[in-house]
Amino acid sequence: MSRYSRPEYVKVLTVDDAIEELIRNGEAYVVAGGTDLVVNMRLGRCAPRKLVDLSAVPQLSVVSPDHNSVVIGATATMSRIVEALSPWPSLSALTTAASLLGTPQVRNLATIGGNIGNASPSAELVGPLVALGASAVLRGPKGDRCVPIEELFVGPGETVLSKSEVLTAVDVPIPPTKTLTAYARHRRTRVDLATVGVSVALGVTAGRCQHCRVVLTAVAPTPLRAIEAEGVLAGQKLTEEVIAQAALVASAEARPISDVRASADYRRELVEIITRRSLTSLAATLGVN
């Protein structure tokens, strides 16, 4: 016999049908790409009673860019996001992260909703989404609510989603002109998880940093905005010294643990190096250093 009673399966065609299923069965899981859930089931890390497959809900896979924002449906795959959003250089942090996640095969399955909903500290898309000021659209029995990605995570594997809510879309504001974003991370091999991720958004007016966000991932239980590092940059000319100081401060703000991928000290060191390099390269592209 199998290791646990095998789950029921239902393929829904609307989000409301999915919510109905979640209300009816408290141990139901939504699934789309399956790249994490299917492995976790096989390893016995979770045993859903029912799988509610969102992959056939037509509106959920749509990526619709407009002048002010891009709405990315929860089941849009990494491949789809890269293809649809590559023409927007200001969204580079997001498309870079999507193109670095997993392998080509995984990128054809893995969805933005899954990457966010799993709440993994090393999730590739989450740092860029926080840097871009994106929000998640959650639908539940009482309707939609919009939660900034920054406020979505409670701890590793934990979000503010209730049992009967479904993440339906991510709303990403398109940054103003003269703002660029970047995502860089360190990992051992091409398919490994990130040991440290750094996402940066940098906007410049009259040679001075007018808008900036520095977001660190895989160095704390949830994505971490390096607020003090942002403070070092705000209003300043992006000289080598200012950038070096911001990177040093960001590294002190990180709260990494030691695990199988890297020691805490090494992670802190990586934060400094990657932050410095990311800021330097964005400042160079903006033509301000």
Partner: protein, 159 residues
């Protein structure tokens, strides 16, 4: 509880019943007898189970069989009658791109998918296309050479 689905595998129609958590890999190997698809890590890391679902390379160990209702699946067996396959196969043999052979079916599917989309790939594009297929024998150099050689030969056949 099992669920009836319909799918096309390598041009043939099948109507199996699948479990809710059954993977396409399990369905192909254990129920449909399609053994060219290899079960390796079963975690989406090694790529030995790579197949095309509606033309896209995916890990069959990660996709639920039930989700594949109405879809079309291509495995290495489905390339048997494909003239490009003969060229790819020949190039793999000539360059010594096969040692133990366990990764080859997935590697061939990834290579085939690349050459469909990009008939004249650069070496970087080839390396990217097979970055989700692990090979523990060859060190990849011979595989990359073979795919590039096959692309050149396919170009010659066209002209």
């Amino acid at each position: 509880m099992t669920y009836p689905i319909k799918l096309v595998v390598n041009g043939r129609k099948f109507s199996p019943r699948v479990e809710g958590d059954e993977t396409l890999l399990h369905l192909l190997r254990e129920k449909l007898g399609v053994k060219g698809v290899k079960a390796g890590c079963e975690s989406g890391e090694c790529g030995a189970c790579t197949v095309l679902v509606d033309g896209q390379p995916v890990n069959s160990c990660l996709i639920l069989a039930a989700r594949c209702d109405g879809k079309s699946v291509l495995t290495v067996e489905g390339l048997r009658a494909n003239p490009q396959m003969a060229i790819l196969e020949q190039a793999f043999l000539e360059k010594g791109a096969v040692q133990c052979g366990f990764c080859s079916p997935g590697m061939i599917i990834s290579a085939h998918s690349l050459l469909q989309k990009s008939p004249h790939p650069t070496e970087d594009e080839v390396r990217e296309a097979i970055s989700g297929n692990l090979c523990r024998c060859t060190g990849y150099a011979k595989i990359v050479e073979a795919i590039l050689a096959a692309a050149r030969r396919m170009g010659e056949v066209e002209t």
